[in-house]
């Protein structure tokens, strides 16, 4: 392995191992929700595993994978060694220490607070400290990404930065703006409270700060997936990117619109005025547009590929795409399920209708289509694409790799659709006993929870296949010469840097929008008489 590739490779493996641990937890939860009597099944174990699953999957797997992909983009799209490699390694080890601290607290049963860690649920200080370190590590990554972008700009005056770096820089900006919220929440509110330095905590303020972070977190997951969709997928499909400019527009729109939308997660929360919730609703609906543009541009790129291979009919180009390639299949299938997730997201974001689905199983059905498939399945596909190249080895267990994305697609369809339906029937999320001790109302959704459990089993099989392929490739793959990472060429040449490349301007617009959306409601909240809550630890 090239020495410089060790940096992304190490990050990838932390991500893959976190994914494996989280997948094992998920199987237990899916079976438990179907009320199957398992050894050691208990409410305490259920909520512990939900916390571990959420933290490891949504915060550790994603963050480390995205950091890895950022370094890959520096190495192979900017074609330069990572400037600031020492800082990058420091960020890696700080993050790893953070993961160990947080995971230890969770697995010891001292931090059963779910991945949203809403107070007054209180965790051991090690949990909050661990999460803080993961974020500090990611800030070092962000600094390294920006430094490398600036170095590239100095060396390539008058050239537009490659689209892959444009998208990753948008990811960095979204992350830096978003993590301000969670940093304030953890450092000012939760950590001192957990350490006993303050007696009570303000749950409303903590939730506002969490969702200031929590929704752009979704785009932190999705934007690197979009980078892969725009810049790698068309190449693997054998075509060209339909429009480089539309890609740049999409990434800029996410910089602007990702953050001032958090109140749509708090549509039923007291303490946030309805007018501000409505403003966030409008801004949330706007953010559907960049995803719709992405659906058009990436699908059009696939059509270009199919037509370059001779397709002439309305849809026969679909048959000419490389559905047997694990990377292509993973990404294409993740896009199909994301389309369903987009529809569900529009329901979540509609202020009044949110009451129908709020805190129901619909929500877990929804985010397993977005982060659990659009991001996670894309990352698995990317791992098939990147790990052999970085390790200098052939992809092993190729048949498992080919089948795995389809299994994930099938399992997620069963799991997610059944959860959407039971959510509309009123089944709550995050409830250990889905049958409510045999209550009549719960009988209606019993068959669907079984379907969801079957989906969980299929997903677990898919996750196991992924891990086997990764381990097989890393440990037993045939050595081969390093293979370059090839990026998609745009259909039309990229011009000089334009308005969409002026990141400073878009950061300014984003900050102004954030201030409009959050400054007044937070200021009003701080001026009101507030009532703190003492800690609550159910187990």
């Amino acid at each position: 392995m090239n020495r410089a590739d060790r940096l992304p490779y190490a990050h990838l493996w932390v991500a893959i191992l976190a994914f494996g641990a989280a997948a094992a937890m998920a199987l237990m939860q899916a079976l438990s929700r179907a009320s199957l009597d398992l050894p050691y099944r208990s409410a305490k174990m259920y909520y512990l595993s939900v916390t571990a699953h959420g933290v490891l999957m949504a915060l550790v797997f994603t963050t480390f994978f995205i950091m890895a992909f950022g370094y890959v983009v520096i190495r192979y799209a900017l074609r330069q060694d990572v400037l600031g490699a020492a800082a990058a390694w420091a960020g890696f080890w700080i993050g790893v220490v953070g993961v160990v601290l947080a995971a230890t607290a969770v697995l010891a049963g001292k931090a059963t607070v779910l991945y949203t860690f809403y107070p007054p649920l209180k965790a051991h200080p090690a949990f909050y400290l661990g999460l803080t370190l993961v974020i500090v590590g990611s800030w070092l990554w962000a600094g390294v990404m920006i430094a490398n972008y600036r170095a590239w700009k100095r060396a390539h005056a008058g050239e537009a930065v490659p689209l892959a770096m444009h998208g990753m820089l948008a990811t960095v900006i979204v992350w830096l703006i978003a993590t301000v919220g969670v940093a304030v929440e953890v450092l000012v509110l939760l950590l001192p409270w957990s350490l006993g330095l303050t007696r009570t905590v303000d749950p409303v303020l903590a939730r506002i700060l969490f969702w200031y972070f929590g929704h752009p977190l979704v785009y932190f997951w999705l934007l690197p997936a979009y980078v892969a969709w725009y810049t790698l997928l068309p190449r693997v499909a054998g075509g060209k990117l339909f429009s480089d400019s539309l890609g740049r527009l999409v990434f800029v729109l996410f910089i602007i619109l990702s953050t001032p939308v958090g109140f749509h997660h708090q549509a039923l929360d007291p303490g946030v005025p309805a007018g501000w919730k409505l403003l966030h609703t409008f801004l949330t609906l706007w953010i559907l547009f960049p995803s719709l543009i992405t659906a058009f541009t990436v699908t059009a790129s696939m059509e270009v590929a199919g037509r370059m291979k001779g397709a002439t009919g309305l849809l026969d180009w679909l048959k000419r795409l490389p559905w047997g390639d694990p990377f292509f299949a993973a990404v294409a299938l993740s896009m199909i399920l994301f389309a369903i997730g987009g529809f569900g997201g529009a329901v979540n974001a509609s202020f009044g209708m949110n009451a129908v689905v709020h805190n129901t199983a619909w929500i877990q059905g929804h985010f397993h289509l977005t982060v659990g498939t659009a991001a996670a399945l894309t990352f698995m596909g990317l791992a098939y694409h990147l790990v052999p190249r970085l390790a200098g080895r052939e992809l092993e267990l190729g048949l498992l790799a080919k089948v795995q994305p389809y299994l994930w697609f099938l399992g997620m369809l069963l799991f997610s659709i059944s959860n959407h339906v039971t959510g509309l029937m009123g089944m709550p999320r995050r409830v250990y006993e889905a049958d409510y001790g045999g209550a009549a109302a719960a009988q209606a959704w019993h068959g669907l929870t079984t379907l969801s459990a079957i989906g969980g089993l299929v997903l677990f099989a898919s996750a196991a296949f992924f891990l086997l392929v990764m381990l097989g490739t890393a440990l037993a793959g045939k050595r081969r010469a390093p293979e370059p990472l090839e990026w998609a060429e745009p259909l039309h040449p990229v011009g000089k840097p334009g308005l969409l490349d002026r990141f400073g301007l878009w950061v300014l617009v984003a900050v102004v929008l954030v201030l409009i959306a959050y400054a007044v409601p937070i200021w009003n909240h701080l001026r009101m008489e507030r009532f703190g809550s003492p800690p609550f630890t159910p187990f």
Binding site: F296, G306, M308, L314, G342, F343, V356
Partner: protein
Amino acid sequence: MTHGSAPPDGHPRGTLFLIGLYGVLFVIGWFAVYILVYLRRGGVTA
């Protein structure tokens, strides 16, 4: 990755068809939840 021929000119009509179809299903789905679930339960403004 080898390319079979030159990239096509013209609009991506298959994509426009699929995106249009998705748009129609999206709107139908949203209104289905709005009318059949939300309004049927009374809505928050009823």
